[in-house]
Symmetry: C2
Subunit: 206 residues, 2 copies
DNA sequence: TAGATTGTTAATCGATTAACAATC
DNA sequence: TAGATTGTTAATCGATTAACAATC
């Protein structure tokens, strides 16, 4: 199926498929049927087959899915094998927490540089990642062409920074600020991480 | 409408409605129509009216919605006015980042205590929050009856800890670990925060 | 071959959008 | 009153589930 026709409902399930299949792979399991995977994941076998078939026939009748093969296919679908480069804008608390703890590599992404405006941070290394001044951003983008920018700066600067990053050729924004970015006419996907919305939804469900 | 019949699709939009309406409120706007709100948010007016009407008729024909009133209604629907208490299990990097930076109060939640097993942390205060040993957890729950537990401990301990928290009366789990909690037969909502899935989805969309 | 399980089509279910009467 | 905009029903659209022929 044409990638552009796959619904976001399906796409949002892919990383979870990947996590489960990777777990099976690590456990040394070599094949799995849609029905056994469905039971583990709390989905229907039908949905799993429908979802995977958006991207190709990875299974085999009478056998199921080869775990090693499916792992690799899912990684490829998700683009985890693309060796992408990321930069992070804002080395405050949230930024540092990500730099120190988040496993970018597991997503196939290399965090190559951090940017900030705070003079005391410039030149420092955080978990091996150099902090540069935001003034160097445009030049850095031209030279190294990172695909992904992580937005962990104050929300007041987010909209302008998003536009600037796009103008210099960023391919996707991972937005930890609370603002909705408006990038009309610019074809750059934005993925938001919203702690506060998440906690409010939990609060509703209590 | 009966709260249990409101679909999660609707519920997941509520915090965003709240954010926008709060912004209008802060800007001193006193009324808003579904169509103007729809335009700002990139939704249809129809959807906004349908969504809000799951909870009551907050608008007025020919006028629209009173911003102050709707703000208060949404806060109440989300339970932000319930003065709930939260504890956090795991004062490692993720835990400390939340304690130091996340605004629990904006969600109407008071973070009352942190728990860990690391001796060097016990007794310390992080941003005013005392770290106790996990051995004190059961007693603490009995005495203070926190409604929400934030899970920021190693994933290997998450399942057991989830069960233990529920047995002692927790009402909801905010799960930052990468595991899916299985709490069959226990009616405690779990809200997952999944950085890695979020970045993988962005990676897919590039 | 017989059994298992996929890939895929058709049926069902749920969510979104459109339309409009009610009413402020 | 006339204009605006809701609340709500009906129509459409999309996603999930069920069913089964294909096939390993």
């Amino acid at each position: 199926m044409d990638k552009s026709k796959v619904s976001m409902a399906v796409v949002r399930r892919l990383p979870r498929y990947y996590r489960y299949i990777l777990e099976l792979s690590d456990a040394g399991v070599d094949r799995v049927s849609s029905s056994s995977l469905a039971e583990k994941m709390g989905l229907t076998a039908s949905q799993i087959r429908q979802d995977l078939n958006c991207f190709g026939g990875f299974g085999q009748q009478g056998y199921g899915y080869n775990v090693a093969n499916l792992t690799q296919e899912l990684a490829s679908i998700l683009g985890l094998d693309q060796g992408r480069k990321a930069i992070i804008i804002g080395a405050g608390n949230m930024g540092r927490a990500l730099i120190n703890n988040f496993n970018f590599r597991k997503c196939g992404v290399a965090l190559t540089c951090a940017f900030d405006t705070e003079t005391s941070l410039i030149g420092a290394h955080i978990n091996g990642v150099l902090v540069r001044h935001v003034d160097e951003l445009d030049g850095f983008q031209k030279q190294y062409k990172p695909e992904i920018a992580v937005l962990t700066m104050p929300k007041s600067a987010a909209q302008r920074m998003g536009e600037r990053l796009c103008k210099n050729g960023i391919k996707g924004l991972w937005n930890f600020t609370t603002v909705d970015l408006h990038l009309e006419g610019i074809d750059v996907p934005v993925e938001n991480v919203r702690f506060m919305e998440s906690l409010m939804i939990l609060s509703y469900r209590l």
